[in-house]
């Protein structure tokens, strides 16, 4: 009976799955066009799935092994089941293989079930609690189904009872695994995930690459919306990407805003987009909510504004403004979903179309428009701090080896110490350098993160125009935000430069034996990775090598390197200042204290400001340039 039923069951399941897939695809295709190479993507997809994605999953050994067994077992078992039971191939070998595949899947499924016994908070519950059972039922059903075929059990063993049970099991398994995959069950991640990897809008990320610059709005296209108001304003492959979410909550576990009790949870945000994609409310979402925001109050649809102009929409604006754009979520996402892109897309709408940048946001943007710097300082006073340094100005010297990009830290008394220290290092190493002086403008970083793409592009174009006047080999800056924008976001607007962060540059000077350094004495030091240097640009080593070169007793925080926790200063978050239960820099300072260090070495004016804002007593905050400058062996200049 089962033998004759199997082809039908499989056929119906596959048919329903195909219908579901078409339905789902129609939802994605409501999104705007995106420039992707479809065929190349499909060709590259298996490698992206098996290599790139696996690399991320593998950070959790337990679940990566589990996933290999379960997913591998499932895919193989499904193919074999279709061949053996759908097309009624007769092959003992294939039957053995099906037995092995479903066995592997069963092992995986048991491990999934074990993880689900007392699941960590970050995991969604609901349907996801059913999944290990479905996996086990699927695996066991095909395992038992295979036993007679390989001769381990006599044909007809178990009789009608077993046959009925197996039929029920297979129906359950197929429903979850085949139909659920495209109709919106937990297995949707496999189907949407595979396509998402194929059509990812940042294909550079695969194969160990990096793509972190925000994508420019095209203001010449009168049809293009200014940012994302409703789900269908996303590109279709962004929508597809949201659907790939496996609700593992790794993003939630690393999100600084979530930890601080601000109303943001990256996982929930992606799930809200999924709700918006099809229409509905968040009542059935089974993970951690946005802190302070109960479930069931928000709803939306593909053509409705995500942030409602009145009342409640899919989510509230403060959720979007709580993000520090630290990319910890993106870094941790095994499905390589781009949370930050989505958040900035939605911020663009709020800022450009509605003028609703909260708190100090509007003032900062006005300052940027009026004075070219976020603090609203007299633009002619950018060089005040260096009145006694006689810095060569590019307008005078026209050409130089190194253009030192000062950043808006030039207006900040604390950062001026870092700049002075770095200049001391440059001079000690005999580097030929110059500055733009008062011609320099804000890089546009804050404007862009606050969604003011117009001001960003305006500032970027002015800076690019200025830089065109002069000749230099490279740009060096002490500000990772300027560094990122100049290096990764100006090229799209026509400015291509060789850009170094000052730690990278100093490390090169040290390696080229242009710095004579003595050991730095002052205690135990830990290094705080700035998001825009580390996760955004992959520079984790140079700062540490410099500290080691200074003979420093260096300790690492639990969260360091690509897992470094944000200081809370990025993405305009200190400006929009969304309330939470605690402050992000306080949490980071706790990390620093826990390392036992009495000095935290930093490489970013924003991190410095945030960490120094933590009440004392606390470890001292010193830029690596300051540590290096303090350790220079200086020749006595006075006779």
């Amino acid at each position: 009976m089962l033998t004759s039923l199997m082809p039908w069951l499989l056929a119906v399941a596959i048919l329903l799955a195909v219908v579901g897939a078409l339905r789902r695809a129609r939802l994605w295709l409501r999104g705007r066009a995106s420039n992707v190479n479809v065929w190349a993507g499909i060709r590259a997809m298996p490698k992206r799935y098996l290599v790139d994605l696996h690399h991320v999953v593998e950070r959790d050994r337990y679940i990566s092994n589990t996933h290999v067994a379960t997913a591998g077992g499932f895919v193989l078992a499904s193919v074999l089941a279709i061949l053996l039971h759908g097309f009624a191939w007769e092959s003992k070998l294939l039957a053995w293989l099906l037995l092995a595949a479903s066995g592997a899947m069963l092992i995986g499924a048991v491990r999934v079930a074990k993880r689900r016994q007392s699941p960590p908070d970050r995991l969604s519950k609901g349907a996801w609690m059913r999944l290990p059972k479905s996996l086990m039922v699927f695996a066991i059903s095909f395992l038992i189904l295979s036993l007679p075929a390989v001769g381990l059990l006599p044909e007809g063993f178990g009789g009608v009872v077993l046959a009925a049970l197996l039929t029920a099991g297979i129906v359950w398994g197929l429903a979850e695994m085949f139909i659920g995959m495209t109709w919106g069950g937990p297995m949707k991640h496999a189907f949407a995930g595979a396509l998402h990897l194929a059509f990812h809008r940042r294909s550079e990320r695969f194969g160990g690459g990096r793509s972190t610059g925000l994508k420019a709005l095209n203001f010449d296209d009168a049809q293009a919306p200014l940012g994302v108001e409703k789900p269908t304003d996303f590109t279709w492959n962004q929508l597809l990407g949201f659907d790939a979410c496996v609700q593992c909550g790794r993003c939630e576990a690393v999100c600084p805003a979530f930890a601080a009790g601000q109303p943001l949870n990256p996982k929930k945000l992606i799930q809200d987009m999924v709700v918006g994609l099809a229409g509905g409310s968040d009542a059935s979402y089974s993970g951690s909510p946005y802190p302070g925001k109960p479930l069931g109050e928000h709803k939306g649809g593909p053509f409705q504004a995500i942030v409602a102009r009145e009342g409640k929409g899919l989510l509230d604006a403060d959720t979007l403004w709580a993000c520090t754009t630290c990319r910890a979520c993106v870094e941790e996402c095994p499905m390589m979903i781009e949370h930050v892109d989505a958040i900035v897309d939605m911020r663009r709408h709020l800022t450009l179309e509605r003028g609703q940048t909260p708190n100090k946001g509007a003032e900062v943007l006005e300052n940027l428009i009026a004075t070219d710097n976020p603090g609203g300082f007299n633009p002619g006073s950018r060089m005040n701090w260096a009145a006694d340094l006689n810095l060569p100005i590019l307008a005078d010297v026209k050409r130089t080896d190194v253009l030192l990009w000062l950043g808006d830290g030039a207006f900040d008394m604390r950062n001026q110490r870092t700049l002075r220290a770095f200049i001391k290092v440059l001079r000690s190493a005999g580097v030929q350098f110059a500055v733009l002086g008062n011609e320099e403008r804000d890089s546009g970083d804050v404007a862009r993160r606050l969604g003011d793409e117009a001001t960003f592009q305006h500032l970027a174009k002015l800076n690019i125009h200025t830089l065109q006047q002069y000749s230099f080999r490279s740009i060096v800056t002490c500000d990772p935000h300027s560094f990122h924008v100049l290096k990764n976001e100006y090229p799209e607007l026509g400015g291509e430069y060789v850009v170094y962060h000052h730690t990278t540059f100093m490390e090169r000077l040290y390696r080229d034996k242009q710095l004579s350094l003595k050991d730095w004495v002052g205690g135990r030091v830990t290094y705080h990775d700035p998001c825009y240097l580390g996760r955004y640009n992959g520079e984790y080593d140079a700062p540490r090598q410099l500290l080691d070169a200074l003979g420093i007793d260096r300790v690492e925080m639990t969260r360091s390197g690509f897992r470094s926790r944000c200081c809370g200063g990025g993405g305009g978050a200190p400006i929009t200042d969304i309330p939470g239960k605690q402050r992000i820099p306080d949490m980071r300072m706790d990390d620093i204290k826990a390392s036992g260090a009495n000095v935290v070495a930093v490489g970013c004016p924003q991190c410095t400001a945030m960490l120094e804002g933590v009440v004392e007593p606390r470890p001292q905050v010193l830029d690596i340039a300051e540590l290096v400058a303090q350790s220079l062996i200086e020749e006595e200049t006075r006779a």
């Binding site: 005040n384 009145a387 006694d388 900040d412 008394m413 110490r417 006075r638």
Partner: protein, 689 residues
């Protein structure tokens, strides 16, 4: 905008860019040696300010341009010889290395000097009128001398330029030769150098022209003037506006430094360097008035000590730059600390005027609270480095200036420090001194130490009397006694201190004894304490006679401070009597009879009063020292050779294992001296712990 942004706007003076708006204005340092050369001490004193971030230093108050303006009395800088040029190069290099700028004040002092020494110069003045503050007589200047001195100014300016300095400031303030010509009070001439406004201006103008001709337009030449002489027959504010506008219109003056008050009497002199009895920036309005009529930038210094105050003045646009000269003497790193966000760590000038009062006595300028100032050349640090040697347990007994400084320095070195203070607050005698009217700012010294000791985690145990056991219980490696002393009333048994016939100034100021109604204050010391207690009592309504056996009450109080005491005492009708020694006190009914004996005739006289307050100085408190002395490894001895050479005490290299410890005593518990001596003792002893 940052809190102090107005202070950190660079400013252009002539062709010179100055990094911020803060100036260390010209003051007489009394450091120039070798015949007025800017030698090592001088250079390092200014280098420290530049290192600390000061924008502009104008050095060499009253540096002389001519051989007949005596230099040696105040060891001022001598620009009358080319020998100064290489010394200036050292000075300029040292300041420029840290991004600072340096100029020098140049002058001929005319009659404002002394003639009775060195070259026995004949002093010069427009009309030969005597100067009262220096008791100096002078001759009437002749045309030939005027011509020679104008040339001397030009040569002096050339030497400053060739030495690499950034500019010169012509002193036309404090009644020097230029403003002696300006002021009709002392210029009674009827020739081309006196009489009309133009004639009185002529000497200054000729000096300016000659200087400009010598140094050209690229070298900064400024002028320091007063904003009002405060003499009925002197130059008024309107006169000074006219004068400033006149010179400004020549286009030859790059900046004006403006201060309030003339200073050729004791009373006006006290205005010039306002002590703690003055309000903040008392004469800013005069500088602001000058700024109204000139195009050149205006600098003003007088009682500007606090960054908030400086910011407020600059933000208000009253003047272009603020002089914070005593503020830099107290803490040459004041600017660096503002920039570091360490405003709480600034050692703020309290206006005790120990610096300037020493200068008027021809002694080197020192700070009452910062013993490292001007001793940089000896190796005394403003920033104490952590020790690389072993960390020790240090117990300090006594929270007066010596004990507080010892605790600060030892804690900065990284040691574990416990400080015992018997009273309920730190400060020792500073707290008593601060009780007097107009002397409350003395407590600022203690305020800084309190903040620093808290920052450095010193274990301060107030209201804890440390005896031998309490000290040894802490197992110290080093014990420092700084317990001070007690009023020395038992020296003359006839005073009847034991019977309670006399009380001490401490008892009165501390409030232990209520002020009497009719009080005799007997002061043998003639410093601040006697004047303070008399002032305190009269403020409380007592009728007070202040008697001394010395030559005058307050004789040992410096030239900028006794006038402010006198103003207060005379206003309250305190009778000041000198040359009488307190012979005996006895009771008669409910009154006390004080028997006074004339120092010179032996004649006795009596006063019937209800309270006799005696100020006879301090007797060291030695009991604890002798209890510990023989248990200590070094028998309590300080190696004076090492101490005076600013070297580590040799006994520090001995091991202090077990119960043994090193014992030192500093401050008044050794011998009664002053606040500076106590702090200096502590710094030079403890900096090598």
């Amino acid at each position: 905008m940052s809190q102090f942004d107005a202070m950190f706007q660079p400013i252009q003076i002539g062709k010179l860019t100055i990094r911020n708006r803060v100036v260390s204005t010209a003051h007489a340092e009394v450091y120039a040696t070798d015949g007025g050369m800017t030698t090592e001490r001088y250079v390092q004193y200014y280098e420290e300010k530049a290192k600390g971030g000061c924008g502009l230093c104008i050095c060499g108050g009253s540096s002389v341009v001519s051989i007949d303006s005596p230099q040696a009395w105040w060891s001022s800088v001598n620009l009358a010889t080319d020998r100064i040029i290489p010394h200036f190069q050292n000075l300029a290099d040292a300041v420029h290395k840290h991004g600072g700028k340096i100029m020098i004040q140049i002058t001929h002092m005319g009659r404002r000097s002394r003639w009775d020494g060195y070259h026995w110069s004949t002093l010069l003045s427009p009309s030969g009128i005597r100067e009262p503050v220096h008791r100096s007589t002078c001759k009437t200047i002749e045309d030939e001398e005027i011509t020679r001195i104008i040339g001397d100014y030009a040569q002096a300016a050339r030497r400053a330029k060739e030495g690499g300095l950034d500019g010169v400031e012509l002193s036309a303030v404090h009644q020097h030769l230029i403003d002696q010509f300006w002021s009709p009070r002392v210029n009674k001439r009827t020739d081309q150098w006196g009489g009309s406004f133009e004639n009185r201006m002529r000497f200054g103008l000729e000096v300016l022209k000659a200087v400009r001709a010598e140094v050209g337009n690229d070298f900064v030449v400024g002028m320091r003037i007063c904003g009002d002489e405060f003499h009925p027959d002197g130059l008024t504010h309107d006169d000074m506006k006219q004068i400033a506008a006149y010179y400004d219109a020549t286009g030859m003056v790059d900046f004006f430094g403006v201060i309030g008050s003339g200073c050729d009497t004791h009373n006006t002199l006290a205005n010039v360097i306002p002590n703690m009895s003055y309000p903040p920036e008392p004469f800013l309005h005069l500088a602001a008035g000058i700024k109204e009529v000139v195009k050149a930038p205006v600098i003003h210094a007088q009682n500007i000590k606090d960054p908030n105050q400086a910011q407020r003045i600059l933000e208000g646009g009253y003047v272009d730059m603020v002089g914070m000269t005593r503020a830099h003497i107290a803490d040459p790193h004041i600017i660096a600390k503002i920039k570091m966000g360490q405003v709480d760590q600034i050692r703020q000038c309290v206006g005790a005027n120990y610096c300037i009062d020493r200068q008027y006595q021809g002694l080197d300028v020192l700070c009452i609270q910062n013993a490292a100032t001007s001793r940089e050349y000896m190796g005394l640090p403003h920033i104490i480095e952590k020790t690389q040697g072993s960390l020790r347990k240090i117990v300090i007994v006594g929270g007066g200036p010596a004990g507080m400084e010892a605790a600060r320095v030892a804690a900065e070195r990284g040691h574990s420090v416990t400080l015992f203070e018997a009273k309920e607050q730190l400060g020792g005698q500073i707290s008593i001194a601060a009780k007097a009217p107009q002397r409350d700012q003395m407590a600022g010294i203690t305020r800084w130490y309190q903040l620093e000791l808290a920052r450095l985690n010193v274990d301060v145990r107030l209201e804890t009397y440390a005896n031998e056991e309490a000290i040894k219980d802490l197992n110290p490696d080093i014990v420092i006694l700084a317990v001070g002393g007690r009023p020395f009333l038992e020296q003359v048994p006839e005073w009847g201190a034991e019977e309670g016939l006399v009380v001490s100034s401490w008892d009165v100021l501390d409030g232990k004894v209520a002020p009497g109604k009719n009080v005799l204050v007997y002061d043998t010391i003639c410093e601040f304490s006697g004047m303070s207690v008399a002032d305190f009592l009269s403020e409380k309504g007592a009728k007070v006679e202040l008697v001394t056996d010395d030559i005058k009450p307050g004789a040992a109080v410096g030239g900028t401070t006794f006038p402010t005491y006198y103003r207060s005492l005379y206003a309250k009708e305190v009778i000041m009597t000198s040359d009488l020694a307190l012979h005996k006190v006895y009771r008669e009914g409910d009154q006390l009879v004080a028997v006074l004996e004339n120092e010179y005739t032996g004649q006795m006289e009596e006063r019937v009063v209800d309270q006799v307050v005696v100020e006879n100085g301090v007797r060291p408190d030695e009991a604890l020292y002798y209890a510990l002395k023989h248990q200590s490894l070094n028998k309590g001895q300080i190696d004076v050779d090492a101490l005076y050479a600013i070297k580590p005490q040799p006994c520090l290299s001995e091991s202090t294992q077990g119960a043994a410890f090193l014992l030192f005593r500093i401050g008044d518990c050794t011998a009664p001296r002053n606040t500076h001596a106590a702090i200096y003792d502590a710094l030079r002893l403890c900096k090598d712990f």
